[in-house]
Symmetry: C2
Subunit: 253 residues, 2 copies
DNA sequence: TAAGATTTGTTCGTATGTATC
DNA sequence: GGATACATACGAACAAATCTT
């Protein structure tokens, strides 16, 4: 993986890092796939001529990247693993932790991508999938009775999109949308983006989701796309109002 | 960061992983930012009551995530670090290594996002930025004389988009586009997606890039958007032809 | 340039924990 | 339950990098 924008100073890499890279390359060369076993610690120690500690640090590096999994006991060892979407989201989240993302930034992408997702899913979800989505939407059918419930409803509403994304045929599209839902969910919770409640907009948003489900069931791609587009508009408005509210609360303190 | 789609079995987490998480939480609590120094190994050993090896493994976990950087010597130690875009791309790349992404998958997103990027950049690039982009486009002004040059030209053409993405005001949009350029660059190189040459389409693509630069210089957002959209069409056609070629080469073997 | 101080980097031996048979 | 095969963890010593004087 040579880099397309060649920066980052080539500082001296420690042994564990070099070992981790070597193992990664080896796995690729050997065409190992998820579940395949890697050589044990003792064999690694011999093969690389390094101490146990160094090898273990290397394994931890791979583990942190979600690439291996390690088990103790007989038949144990390290195994190649496909990184979970959850871990990939977390790792990418680290990158954005240091950036300032506005609601507008995120919605610029949601508006561009989610309508396509909706269209691509029309007529392709089975009854079970539709039922699961329906349950989520139903979970916020009635107004929240408390702040906590308000928050949970907002999170659930984002989980609706994450769930939809999980059904995407295009893995890239699915991941990106799931990732945005995750970020928004995190932002919603720790910046209290669920207050003040805005029942009218909220209800409109839920209405769009229900109509979207119908269009998906009926295989009507264009209605699904248009509905999602409209939904994104109201959702963005809702969240930007709340973002502004957060700012003014912040300044008032 | 509670998860929006709560899966993944809660297997027993090893000490280094727990220590790494604890340190991460501590950094957030203390509101440390990039460049700030973490406690040294010896202090960690005391604070956590764990051995040096365990602490070091924890540090390696954080390092692998691009969150810290460690230096030896006086004044050395571990320092909070903002993960580089490069590392974030690599980590996310691990996730997609196990997925099968088609050219069509990637272009579905490029078509949806890059025109927006182009429009958002109109009139916002300084002379230096425009010059840098111009140089890239010029680097493939004449037909490639060899396979290697053909490959390099394709990579450079993708670097044009990566460079553009680096100027994005929206960090999310910028990252996503840069990431796709990276994936395509990798695919291009290791699946030889630069053959057979298709001079006509290639030249049209380059023409779009030049017209795009003019529109960006002139601050004409709508022309920039339309030009990028057209460019994406021809680029997709070019690459899908080559992807098909790869498949038939593969089957012929 | 050289010496010394500081901090991480690496090794090795040993002991413990854990899952399988 | 006991033996076996693995990873996990500890501690002490030494090596290497880098800053200061």
């Amino acid at each position: 993986m040579s880099d397309i924008l060649p920066f980052e100073k080539p500082r001296r890499r420690s042994r564990p890092v070099r070992v981790a890279d070597a193992i990664k390359d080896w796995v690729v060369e050997q065409r190992l796939s998820a579940g395949d076993r890697l050589p044990g610690e003792t064999e690694m120690i011999e093969r690389f001529g390094m101490s146990k500690g160094t090898i273990r640090e290397a394994m931890r590096i791979l583990e942190a990247q979600g690439l291996i999994e390690t088990r103790t006991g007989p038949g144990g060892g390290s195994f190649v693993k496909e990184p979970s979407a959850e871990r990939a989201r977390a790792l990418l989240g680290n990158y954005f932790y240091f950036k300032t993302l506005t609601i507008a930034d995120i919605y610029a992408l949601r508006r561009a991508l989610e309508p396509d997702l909706a269209a691509s899913l029309a007529g392709r979800l089975d009854a079970e999938a539709l039922e699961g989505l329906r349950e989520i939407v139903d979970s916020y059918a009635r107004p929240a009775a408390s702040m906590e419930e308000e928050r949970d409803q907002h999170v659930a509403s984002l989980a609706f999109h994450a769930r939809l994304a999980a059904h995407a045929e295009n893995p890239l599209l699915g991941f990106m949308i799931g990732f945005m839902a995750q970020i928004l969910s995190d932002l919603t919770v720790d910046r209290r983006l669920y207050t003040p409640p805005n029942p009218e907009l909220w209800e409109r948003g839920r209405g769009y989701q229900m109509r979207l489900l119908e269009a998906l069931r009926d295989g009507d791609a264009e209605t699904a796309r248009a509905t999602m587009r409209a939904h994104m508009e109201t959702a963005q408005t809702l969240m930007m109002d709340q973002e502004a509210e957060v700012l003014s609360r912040f300044m008032a303190e």
